[in-house]
């Protein structure tokens, strides 16, 4: 499960009462994919375009916290408009969003304590009927 997915995930049980608080990551096994050594120009262009496109929907604080929990401290605490235009920043952002994977671990809801295990890169978000809204 990559940081992009973690960033948009939330606990939608009735108990969480529509909270959009990010899930806390407890990482047991993390994998960081190295970016390809000689990416094609088009691949780079697409990465930058996607990072720019995704930026408005991200919960930046959640991203910083999540990255920290996975061992990455390189993200700035705030994003300024100038920073958001820089190609270097956008490429680094794409790398953080797409190449950092939680292979095994746990996601915990900060409001209710409900746990969502992650095994083999797949997060288990299965709910019982009784838990749903």
């Amino acid at each position: 499960m990559r940081l992009l997915t973690h960033n948009v995930l939330r606990n939608n049980t009735a108990a969480a009462a529509r909270s959009t608080a990010p899930l806390r990551i407890t990482a047991t096994e993390v994998r960081v994919d190295d970016p390809p050594s000689a990416p094609s120009d088009d691949a780079t262009r697409r990465e930058v375009a996607f990072a720019k496109h995704a930026l408005p929907i991200l919960d930046w604080d959640a991203l910083v916290q999540g990255a920290k929990a996975m061992g990455l401290d390189s993200l700035p605490p705030h994003v300024t408009p100038e920073l958001a235009e820089g190609e270097g920043f956008l490429r680094a952002l794409y790398h953080v969003l797409m190449n950092v994977h939680l292979v095994n671990g746990m996601l915990t809801c900060p409001e209710t304590g409900r746990e969502f295990p992650v095994t083999d890169g797949i997060c288990n978000m299965m709910l019982e009927e009784g838990e749903c809204e």
Partner: protein, 330 residues
């Protein structure tokens, strides 16, 4: 042949053995790919697409199964998140993603393009293997769509679902109520899509009641749109696509009939749709007035009712509403 949905829970049907069978049948794979291509077409995503200089979209794939549809999304250049209720199917999808990652890291094996060549983007779209030099931009979640989509509001640019939605119409335990699950799914889908986004959900309705239940739930949460039926006259080829959007003036595109020539590389049988309806031409009596063949005018309706009365059948009175033009629902 009984429907898979009647045998029990989706995760029980799509167990490890079925998952492997599903994935290894080239006919199955071919059909699912075609359906996905058609769904992507119906999504009406911004042009140019990511492989033609545009921006990748963030797409949700509901009931992604073994990742066949995700693969097609990748070929188009989009980033996707898939969810499925069957862990076995997801494991297969994971295997595929792993293989792509290995291939990307090590420059691919003999069946893939050489990593050092810069532009692999004008390669043919047909063979997914040639794209293996890039790692997969797909992610997987083990999740039951009937419990509602667990994402923040206004996250996704689009949503597709291939051959999965009909599973919501069957309850597999005492506490599963189809209508409630459908409402949860659609109301959560409405929230997690960005404004202007579309959802295209291909499904296999067992009965027209199921199809109506599904569209009603979608309409009730606020979606505009409708069902597009491709090849309505062929039992085998017939496909239903629920196309949903936020545009009030949305007009669902016309389904394929086979007359426009193969959209994708296969021969299709279909019935010509046009002004001359061969079935009707012979039967219609000479008297009945019709403005143009294939449409019912008010005159024709009044004439028909008169005929019914003469035959002694119970017929409603003719009022100012008889044969009035009705407003379009979608």
């Amino acid at each position: 042949m009984s429907r898979p949905e009647l045998t029990g829970h989706a995760s029980l049907f799509y167990n490890a053995r079925e998952a492997r069978k599903y994935d290894s049948s080239s006919r199955m794979v071919g059909i699912q790919r075609e359906i996905t291509e058609r769904a992507i077409e119906l999504l009406n995503l911004p042009t140019p697409g990511p492989r033609e200089g545009g921006t990748p979209s963030f797409v949700l794939d509901v009931g992604c199964g073994s990742g066949l549809s995700g693969q097609v999304l990748e070929e188009h250049g989009h980033v996707w998140v898939g969810c499925d209720v069957s862990r076995d199917m997801l494991n297969m999808a994971n295997e595929r993603i792993e293989e792509k990652r290995e291939a990307a890291l090590h420059g691919g094996d003999s069946s893939d393009e050489d990593d050092s060549s810069n532009d692999d983007d004008d390669e043919s779209m047909n063979d997914g293997q040639k794209r293996a030099t890039e790692p997969s931009p797909g992610d997987l979640l083990h999740h039951d769509m009937g419990t509602g989509l667990p994402f923040r509001p206004a996250t996704f640019d689009a949503c597709i679902s291939i051959s999965a939605l009909q599973w919501l119409c069957y309850s597999n335990s005492k506490d599963q109520i189809p209508k409630r699950r459908l409402m949860r799914f659609f109301s959560s889908l409405y929230k997690v899509l960005r404004r202007g986004a579309r959802a295209v959900l291909q499904f296999y309705p067992e009965t027209s009641e199921h199809a109506i239940l599904i569209s009603e739930c979608a309409a009730r949460v606020g979606f505009a749109g409708g069902i597009v039926v491709d090849y309505p006259n062929s039992t085998k080829a017939k496909k239903h696509y629920l196309v949903l959007s936020f545009e009030r003036a949305h007009k669902a595109p016309r389904g394929l009939t086979g007359a426009e020539g193969a959209l994708l590389d296969e021969e299709r049988t279909g019935v010509r749709v046009g002004d001359k309806d061969p079935k009707r031409a012979g039967k219609r009596g000479a008297k009945a007035p019709r403005k143009k063949k294939g449409s019912k005018t008010k005159e024709w309706i009044l004439h028909k009712k008169e005929t019914q009365r003469k035959r002694g059948k119970e017929t409603r009175k003719d009022t100012k509403y008889t044969g009035r033009k009705r407003p379009m629902r979608f």
